[in-house]
């Protein structure tokens, strides 16, 4: 599928307006409606918990242990307990503003992020529903609460892409496992020490920098413009080259012109609702630098390219005839190579 499928996606998204409405009793029984309820649960449920995340990479794993205090609908504080390098660091998220307190560098970073609107969230849920079916699994207990398990199966390939466990009453997602195409586990998230409460100390979501910290403002939202913004930029990257091949179910969901380390790029984001692919293109000689990564040399046509595995994501970068390209996504290496070759 390519960008020409966007109108179809927009039409499908109209159906997804149900996502914005309260779930009705009939739909609540279906696995897909349950999944919707899980996605929406943090909007109405306040809690504290400890959350463990593991990302399994090609050469090893990354683990974090974070204490979360969440006040519905959109105030969240995360305090890092592990690894040691991040211990004590905190992130307070209030809407699209994020306040990162880095205790090791005495740095307080304020980030203004993209504000995902309800419509784009609904569109992307419609995309997920079109490409995946949800199947019930066995009921279990997680963090002392009964959970319902769901497996998300790719409708085109029949492969299980994700398993999630939702708390039976609140529908909060308490555990999630993401799989590679070959069935290997790519990442895992699990709640522990869960407690439902909306009585959190007043200073929990404080957004003021500690005394002596350097405040840095990092405006992510301002560093990129959406394709439809109409802004002119003489340094704007070239007209996008559509890939002739994309995995089944993938559609273009976002076009932006971000600036990475001062260099303007065209960024196309494709997804099937769960898996995703970014294509970065620019006219300068700027393929990604792979210093610090274990890169594999491959060929795109006659051109040298570098392939890097980073957790669940693979990255492929090369210098084309007129542009440089960098592809990033939780796709297999053969899939990335096939997409890259279809860009020529």
């Amino acid at each position: 599928m390519n960008r020409r499928s966007l109108p179809a996606l927009v039409c499908a998204s109209a159906c997804a307006f149900a996502f914005l409405l309260p779930l009705n009793a009939n739909a609540a029984d279906s696995a897909l409606a349950l999944l919707q309820a899980g996605v929406r649960a943090p909007l109405t449920t306040s809690y504290t918990a400890q959350v463990e995340r593991i990302h399994f990479g090609a050469r090893g794993s990354r683990q974090t242990l974070v204490r979360i205090e969440h006040l519905a609908p959109n105030a969240t504080r995360r305090t890092y307990l592990a690894p040691e390098a991040f211990y004590g660091n905190t992130i307070v998220q209030r809407g699209n503003r994020r306040y990162e307190c880095d205790r090791h560098h005495h740095r307080f970073v304020i980030r203004v992020e993209h504000d995902p609107d309800d419509l784009s969230t609904a569109q992307n849920f419609a995309l997920l529903a079109r490409n995946y079916r949800a199947e019930y699994g066995q009921d279990e207990m997680i963090a002392g609460y009964p959970v319902i398990s769901l497996s998300l199966i790719n409708r085109h390939t029949g492969e299980k892409t994700m398993s999630i466990w939702l708390e039976r009453n609140t529908h909060l997602i308490l555990s999630k496992v993401v799989f590679h195409r070959d069935g290997a586990v790519a990442s895992e998230m699990r709640f522990e020490k869960l407690r439902y409460t909306n009585k959190l100390p007043a200073n929990t979501f404080s957004t003021s920098a500690p005394s002596g910290y350097i405040v840095v403002t990092n405006n992510v939202a301002n560093r990129s413009q959406s394709a439809g913004s109409g802004e002119t930029d003489t340094n704007k990257p070239p007209t996008p080259i559509d890939p002739h091949f994309l995995p089944e179910g993938f559609a273009l969901i976002q076009t932006t012109y971000p600036t990475l380390q001062g260099v303007p790029f065209l960024h196309l984001l494709y997804s099937d609702g769960i898996r995703s692919l970014s294509i970065f293109e620019n006219q300068h000689n700027t393929p990604a630098g792979v210093n610090g990564f274990h890169a594999q040399s491959v060929k795109i046509g006659e051109r040298d390219a570098q392939l890097v595995a980073d957790g669940a994501n693979n990255l492929l970068t090369w210098q084309g005839a007129h542009s440089s390209f960098t592809l990033v996504g939780d796709l297999s290496k053969p899939e990335l190579l096939k997409i890259a070759n279809s860009l020529r």
């Binding site: 998220q93 970073v109 840095v216 969901i253 996504g329």
Partner: protein, 164 residues
Amino acid sequence: MTPHCSPEQLVDYVNGELAAAADAEVYLHMADCSFCHDAYSSELSLRESLHNFGKATERELPASLADAIRQAATPQRRVSMLNWQSFWRPRIALPALGGVASLALGVLLLSPHSSGVSTSIAQISAAAFLDRHTEAMVTMPLAEHLSAPTFESAATLQETPDEE
């Protein structure tokens, strides 16, 4: 800040030895300067290579040898201090300072940072692309609804090697 970070600044930044204000300044500068970010990535890569080489070639020191070194070192400690103090005598210190100054001048002249003519765009770290991809995923229903914080970005994370 000057147009580019000095190598010394980058080394101190990598080792977390800059004062908080200077550290934040370098951090901000690198967000918009691919040249310095590339130099930073190279420094990280060099550090990792040295670390890996050190780990790969690590050997257990025989206990007898360690004891012998300790015994030999203890009575000489005072002598070592005297030698260190003697460094500040003018007849030693002046030529040494001259040597250091010449070396620094040579490095400065050869450094591409100081040439002022280098306009080519350096490579952008793969980490920046990975982070940007993660940031863009926030609208996906089941993605992590939090892009990687700056201290947990792909640029700073080290994977924990699995046990063999």
